[in-house]
């Protein structure tokens, strides 16, 4: 049986699906009886959700204008080929 420290160390990798099968089983075996580590797991899931929250995609008008000008330039070059 792995310790809490070992289980916690692998929680994110476990959620990422990148732990080996034997290690995954050890983590799950630990989680089956350790309430505190289950709390850590839930918290890790929430932290991942915080990171995965869709980014704000506002494009400032001046930046949009300059990037659109870049695309105009690209089109012009394309037309010349």
């Amino acid at each position: 049986m792995i310790t809490c420290a070992e289980a916690v160390r692998q929680l994110w990798a476990y959620l990422d699906g990148v732990v080996d099968e034997p290690d995954r089983e050890k983590v799950e075996e630990h989680l089956a009886f350790c309430r505190r580590c289950c709390g850590e797991l839930e918290f890790a899931e929430e932290l991942r959700a915080l990171l995965a929250r869709p980014v704000a995609e506002e494009l400032p008008a001046d930046v949009h204008a300059r990037l659109t000008a870049t695309l105009d330039d690209v089109e012009a070059r394309w037309a010349e080929t």
Binding site: V8, R9, W12, A13, D16, V18, G39, E40, E42, F43, A44, E46, L47, R48, L50, L51, A52, R53, V55, A56, E57, E58, L59, V63, H64, R66, L67, T68, T70, L71, V74, E75, R77, W78, A79, T81
Partner: protein
């Protein structure tokens, strides 16, 4: 006169324009996370120019957004290489042992809360998360952004950044730990730990 077979048609140009223009907000947002406000626009411009040159090689139109993301990441990496910057060295020894979960439980910033951990995270808006990420060394920020924000698999990111899989796992682990510690520091310094800060 007939157009040469390898000459881009106006239809191709239009498709590229439509793809790129639709992706501008997302590419810019991603660039801000990767390199920060000051250089984000430059990286997107690099990306557009490189994409234009390689568009003929894009076989599946539906993968256009992911293809553009990959080009953006490569442009970002080239920019880092050009600067010849070494990875920032940070005090990771104690960050490696830091647990935000335990820290919140120990400090109990919201004593009247039934769900103190969730309430802690609820204090962070998008811009707060962006600011915390922006403060991380590039070495760690890039994997976190690509895996958790963009949604690439860890193996894809290892390939993209040309590092062994085990190295990528270690960077992700340390990056997460550092992110956790910086979240706490940010909450402390920005007044997010006061009971009245809770909406």
């Amino acid at each position: 006169m007939c157009a040469r077979a390898d000459q881009p048609t106006s239809g191709t140009r239009d498709r590229f324009r439509s793809l790129a223009e639709g992706e501008l907000p997302r590419l810019y947002a991603l660039a801000r996370y990767l390199i920060g406000e000051n250089e984000a626009e430059d990286v997107v411009q690099d990306c557009l120019l490189r994409a234009y040159r390689g568009y003929a090689g894009l076989e599946d139109e539906s993968s256009g957004p992911a293809w553009l993301s990959r080009i953006l990441v490569n442009c970002f990496r080239d920019r880092l290489r050009a600067r010849a910057r070494q990875p920032d060295l940070v005090e990771l020894d104690d960050a490696d042992e830091f647990s935000l979960y335990r820290k919140i439980a120990d400090e109990d910033p919201f004593p009247y809360s039934d769900s103190v951990h969730l309430d802690f995270l609820a204090q962070f808006g998008r811009e707060d998360v962006r600011a915390v990420l922006a403060g991380l060394p590039e070495h760690y920020r890039l994997p976190l952004v690509l895996v958790y924000m963009v949604g690439y698999h860890v193996k894809e990111v290892a390939f993209m950044l040309d590092v062994p899989f085990g190295t990528m796992l270690a960077r992700l682990h340390r990056g997460r730990k550092l992110f956790e510690r910086r979240l706490w520091d940010y909450a402390e310094t920005h007044g997010l730990l006061r009971e009245e800060a809770r909406a």
